[in-house]
């Protein structure tokens, strides 16, 4: 009965304390029960790590980054065009709807394989330039533009109607209004979901393994997988995972700084 009478500050301190107890307990459990020797040799083997250096960075990580950048930049340009088409009327609108529904509905893997194998068969040996990487990148661009267009359309619709009206009243044609008034604001609004799309794409570059990559064109996942098989040891996979985090964590930090900067300006 007397225990009911706890002061709010005391109660708050007790609840924070309980969280610490749980966290320390969990860490202790892992530290004392895990087989550290096996862990070290299986997941953090220094010898293997030395053997993978510097290829894991200069080939695998570099490929991952440039596949992502190319597909993201080109894909976002097409996504913007698709968004504007979908918001127009007539044939451009129908085309945009068809394109978006098709490539949003298909798994990215299927689109990649279609670009790789179906196009050469269907069009009598016509191949997408750039070999398997070229075909894979075209597929990623297509997928990114389909997903990105819906994000960008939401951004365009979130720009207040008065902005377009003000631009029109100054005599700006629709194209000028879009380019200088609406789209710059729309992109600021959709920066967080667009970053999300970027990170998804970064990881989707791993799907390019189905395109069959050579040593020089491997990205992080295919690189790690092949060395995993070769050594029968998970160290390459752990290093590959670290490389992804090395890209994504600074990126999200950068984006949150950009968001703050735009928020002040707005």
């Amino acid at each position: 009965m007397a225990s009911i009478d706890i002061r709010p500050t005391t109660r708050r301190r007790m609840s924070v304390g309980a969280w610490y107890v749980v966290a320390v307990g969990l860490i202790a459990l892992i530290v004392f029960t895990a087989d550290w020797d096996t862990m070290k040799s299986q997941f953090a083997n220094g010898e293997i790590a030395k053997a993978l250096w510097p290829d894991i960075v200069v080939i695998a990580m570099w490929n991952t980054i440039w596949y992502t950048l190319v597909s993201f930049v080109v894909g976002t340009v097409f996504a913007t065009l698709l968004a504007l088409m979908k918001m127009s009327s007539g044939p451009p609108k129908w085309f945009a709807i068809g394109f978006i529904e098709l490539f949003r509905g298909l798994p990215a893997l299927v689109t990649i394989m279609a670009c790789m194998y179906v196009i050469p068969i269907a069009f009598n040996g016509t191949k997408i330039p750039g070999g398997s990487v070229g075909a894979g990148l075209v597929a990623l661009i297509v997928v990114t533009s389909a997903y990105g267009s819906e994000i960008i359309r939401a951004g365009i619709e979130a720009v207040p109607k008065g902005q377009r009206e003000a631009a029109s009243s100054l005599g700006m044609p629709a194209s000028t209004t879009n380019l200088w008034v609406v789209l710059p604001q729309a992109f600021r609004i959709v920066l967080p979901p667009l970053t999300n799309e970027f990170v998804t794409l970064l990881k989707d570059t791993s799907l390019l393994y189905v395109a069959g990559t050579t040593i020089a064109t491997r990205e992080l996942t295919s690189f790690s997988r092949s060395w995993l098989t070769y050594y029968g040891n998970a160290t390459p996979l752990v290093l590959g995972a670290l490389c992804y985090l090395i890209i994504t964590i600074p990126l999200t930090y950068l984006v949150s700084r950009m968001e703050k900067k735009f928020a002040v300006k707005k």
Binding site: P160, S169, L170, G171, M172, P184, K265, K266
Partner: protein, 297 residues
């Protein structure tokens, strides 16, 4: 069609029948009269449609109707604004006064009727609206400045993109117009860092930088804190003094009385009464005008 005057429908003494003084050349009648049948006829028609007629009134609205779905907000408006006139439009909310103003530059395309800007038929699909709009300044209740641009950029962007002025020339004009509205500093900040009154003055400068032939004001002081209303009205008063043709939707009866050359009272989508502002405000003839003014004055 060209015989419709603004005063006959309203049934009130206006400031005179402006139309009767005008030359009878009326380009508005042409487009509907001779619909082009082949490409050549259309081509030869083009310059005439886009070229302003200096003898035509800046704004002429003929039997304008506008419906939003089932709701008819403008029920046949006739109105002519002559050069250097300052026409103030008052009326209760929902009377259609803002819609009327917004249909002058086709932000609200009318359901039927015509809008003629310096003789150019704005409802003609072959008229390049952007060209005409560049000559009509518009100031909005919510300012509608571009939030991602600096104050200076807000005033230069349309000059550069629409009038194709050089950056230096645009910035010179911008500085001049901003000085005219009383802003000589803070040109490099973003609009959010300005007070409402300052933002609205930037918006006026942005319109003036296009050298407009006329200005439309859509409740320019309604979103402002009371102590900031004065500075915006002051700028508008100077503008009127300089001879700008203005059409102002407002709740500022003092401004209408002092600066307006004509007052229009609207209710329920029609012009109820119009005339000299002092006369209408002091001695309204219509019952609805009397009732409205008794509530706001």
């Amino acid at each position: 069609m060209s015989d419709l005057t603004q005063d006959s429908d309203a049934g009130v003494i206006g400031t005179g029948t402006h139309l009767s003084n005008l030359p009878t050349v009326d380009p508005s009648a042409e487009p509907s009269a001779e619909v082009p049948v082949d490409g050549s006829a259309r081509l030869s028609n083009l310059p005439a449609r886009d070229t302003p007629d200096p003898s035509a009134p800046p704004i002429r609205v003929v039997n304008l109707r506008k419906s939003f779905g089932e709701l008819e907000v403008l029920k046949g408006i006739n109105l002519t604004v002559e050069r250097r006139e300052v026409v103030c439009v008052i009326g209760p909310s929902g009377s259609g006064k803002s819609t009327l103003l917004r249909s002058v530059n086709m932000l609200e395309p009318p359901t039927s009727g015509e809008v003629l800007i310096e003789g150019i038929n704005m409802c003609d699909p072959d008229v390049n609206l952007d060209l005409v709009r560049a000559r009509i300044g518009m100031v909005f209740q919510q300012f509608n400045l571009f939030p991602h641009m600096t104050v200076l950029r807000n005033v230069t962007i349309a000059q550069q993109k629409v009038l194709k002025r050089s950056k230096a020339e645009a910035e010179r004009v911008a500085a001049e117009m901003l000085a005219r509205v009383g802003l000589t500093e803070k040109l490099d900040v973003h609009p959010s860092q300005l007070s409402g009154g300052q933002q609205q003055r930037v918006a006026i400068a942005r319109s003036l930088a296009m050298n407009p032939d006329m200005m439309l004001f859509d409740e320019p002081t309604s979103a402002l804190d009371p102590e900031l209303v004065g500075e915006v009205l002051e700028v508008m008063r100077d503008l009127a003094k300089s001879g700008m043709t203005m059409m102002v939707v407002t709740h500022e009866m003092g401004f209408a009385r002092e600066v307006g050359t004509r007052l229009i009272f609207m209710d329920d989508g029609v012009v109820i009464e119009e005339g000299d502002p002092r006369e209408v405000l002091a001695n309204p003839q219509q019952a609805r005008t009397q009732s409205f003014l008794s509530k706001v004055l």
